[in-house]
Amino acid sequence: MLKTFRIGGIHPKENKFSAGKAIQPIAIPAQVIIPLTQHIGAPCQPVVKKGDKVKVGTLIGKTVGFVSANIHSSVSGTVLKIDKALDASGYKRDAVFINVEGDEWEEKIDRSETLAKECSLSSREIIDKISAAGIVGMGGATFPTHVKLIPPPGTKAETLIINAVECEPYLTSDHQLMMEKTEEILIGTTLLMEAINVNKAVIGIENNKKDAIDKFTVAAKSYPGITVQSLKVQYPQGGEKQLIDAIVRRQVPSGALPISVGAVVQNVGTAFAVYEAVQKNKPLVERVVTVTGKDVKNPCNMLSRLGIPLNHLIDFAGGLPETTGKVVSGGPMMGKAIASVEIPVTKGTSGILIIPTLESKRERMKDCIRCTKCVNVCPMGLNPTLLMNLTEYSEWERAEKNRITDCIECGSCSYTCPSDRPLLDYIRLGKGKVMGIIRARKN
């Protein structure tokens, strides 16, 4: 029986050109650039300086404050400098430049392929290991995982939900990881269950990944408490609140966190990273990146160390096609078009999508025709055309009343608008302004 979320949603073409392509590691170039902000929260403080020798797994950036994540070197070599570098944010931010020498790893990291099933650590110890390893949400949001695993006072976790949906069109990195590292992901799930003290976990997989559903359903039988739930192919099925609605049939109240309905959601890539961190002492230094697009010669899934400039990955996939209009970091719905292909792979780089000019050009905006298509598709039950208008006229009080802060920025509204109105762009602007007002009010 297929489950799904109850409000809104769209179904863009899936275009999974890189599906089934085995994960291939990409060669490490002569220099990597590792940004000191690869997560939601405060940027890391560098703990290395020019001339320092580092190995794979050496700590190079330390957390500042609670909502932050450690950053480790993904290569071995010498630190060239700590300077500003352009990254996916569109701005230059502090990064550690490392000249690569060999491929030496920190001694404590277990590089063997043997499956490590047993774990006798307590919940607190598991969370500490996750925190030390700099694990963040691998779906692209990059929220520091250890923060999500410590429920605020007054809340209690009841169910762990593993987000193996990958609802964005084109992206297949999670799917391929699921097919190749099934057992590791299940062990990671068990570790997460132990960390938040629950005995129930549901792995949500969209119905366009039938091979993964079958493989996991069989494999999960050996892991107590873990079940697999197949989900309708609908966007944004992988949205945290939508997934909670689909799987446990609860709606997170406006302005509240998922933990308030007892749910903790983690991406399947995060579960894998947790396995590597806790069982193999391996910090987050590499990730699977999909390089894809209609005209890409060799759409593929790559295992890339953090800090490798994107142009290396694009070259591996056959180079930039002649028809290239936009290069997007992420998927076509929530990804961001980048201004340079020399920016590095970071913890949140789930994929690189190369869109031909004809399809990537945005049309000129026209007047709203009150068709309410945007209202119909909004998965949070908002009124996008109203929110855009309120933002244009700076009506922040009304925008707040109309729950502009509930917007999950999925892009369904902009996608359906027949007048090519940049609904999401304006709502995001309004959301930022209203959140600023709310913060100022609290202070």
Partner: protein, 288 residues
């Protein structure tokens, strides 16, 4: 006939009764307001632009009446003339203030600052600034999408379609500050208009290191400090590779303008300089 009479009588009675109710309710719930507030409001330009910092002219009039002194209150649209009239009405003294004007601190036109990519997102500077550092190598400079133009209620700032930079219309600008607030990169500043509308300012907000700034834009400030060294009034500060001329200290002597290697300092409404023959100039520097 009697139907007509009774109709007229009934309606007349209802009318009279309503009038009486309205009269007494009006008297009972009358809000006592200082009559001077309305008087002051009449003296204001009624633009309701918010330039004074209050939400509309009525609110500003209220503040003027309630305030001890008029020192911190100024209507930029009406100017000194209006403030003097308000002072007269209230028997207070208007503070002497300097006329200000909006100044756009970026000269990175399409010619001077090459475009590296094409932006086809929403035509709004704040949205573009949240997305990325812009379509040039300078992530501090003007996006040219017109948030300033859209915010101006006096039709005093427009984006020049050739340079893609905003230009201020001198006789329309009231220095209300709307464009300053609208610009997401803090490029626009309210500076003293100066005698004969003359002003000198560093037309750049780039904080990158000199070499990086120059690579992105020909007329960027590279923080070389030549201007600071030549200023006789200590009016120039250099912070984060960027020079800034302090309004209150600058005497408009123009010494800084020719020494800037990138022509980043602009002087507006001055007479043209006399050309100095190179030989004479060299002698002067040797002697100095």
């Amino acid at each position: 006939m009697s139907v007509l009479l009774s109709a007229v009588a009934t309606l007349g009675a209802i009318g009279a009764g309503s009038a009486a109710i309205l009269y007494f309710v009006g008297r009972k719930f009358h809000v006592e307001e200082d009559p001077r507030i309305e008087e002051v409001q009449e003296a204001l330009p009624a633009a309701n632009c918010g330039g004074c910092g209050f939400p509309g002219c009525a609110s500003f009039a209220n503040a003027c009446v309630k305030a001890e002194t008029l020192d911190d209150l100024y209507c930029p649209v009406g100017g000194q003339e209006t403030m003097d009239r308000v002072a007269e009405i209230l028997g207070k003294i208007a503070a002497a203030s300097t006329k200000k004007i909006a100044v756009v601190r970026c000269s990175g036109s399409c010619d001077e600052r090459p475009r590296l990519n094409l932006y086809d997102g929403a035509s709004n500077c704040t949205i573009a600034a949240a997305l990325y550092g812009g379509d040039t190598g300078c992530s501090f400079g003007c996006y040219g999408l017109g948030d300033c133009e859209a915010s101006c209620t006096f039709d005093a700032i427009h984006i020049n379609p050739t340079t893609m930079l905003p230009e201020v219309v001198e006789d329309k600008c009231t220095a209300c500050g709307a464009c300053v607030k609208a610009c997401p990169k803090d490029i626009i500043e309210l500076r003293k208009q100066g005698p004969k509308s003359r002003r000198i300012y560093v037309s750049c907000v780039n904080k990158d290191k000199g070499a990086v700034a120059k690579k992105a834009c020909n007329v960027a400030c590279i923080g070389c400090t030549k201007c600071q060294q030549v200023c006789p009034f200590e009016a120039i500060t250099i912070e984060n590779n960027l020079a800034f001329i302090i309004d209150d200290k600058c005497r408009l002597c123009r010494k800084c303008v020719p020494v800037c290697p990138t022509n980043s300092i602009l002087e507006l409404n001055f007479p043209p300089r006399k050309e100095t023959p190179p030989a004479v100039k060299e002698e002067a520097t040797v002697n100095a």
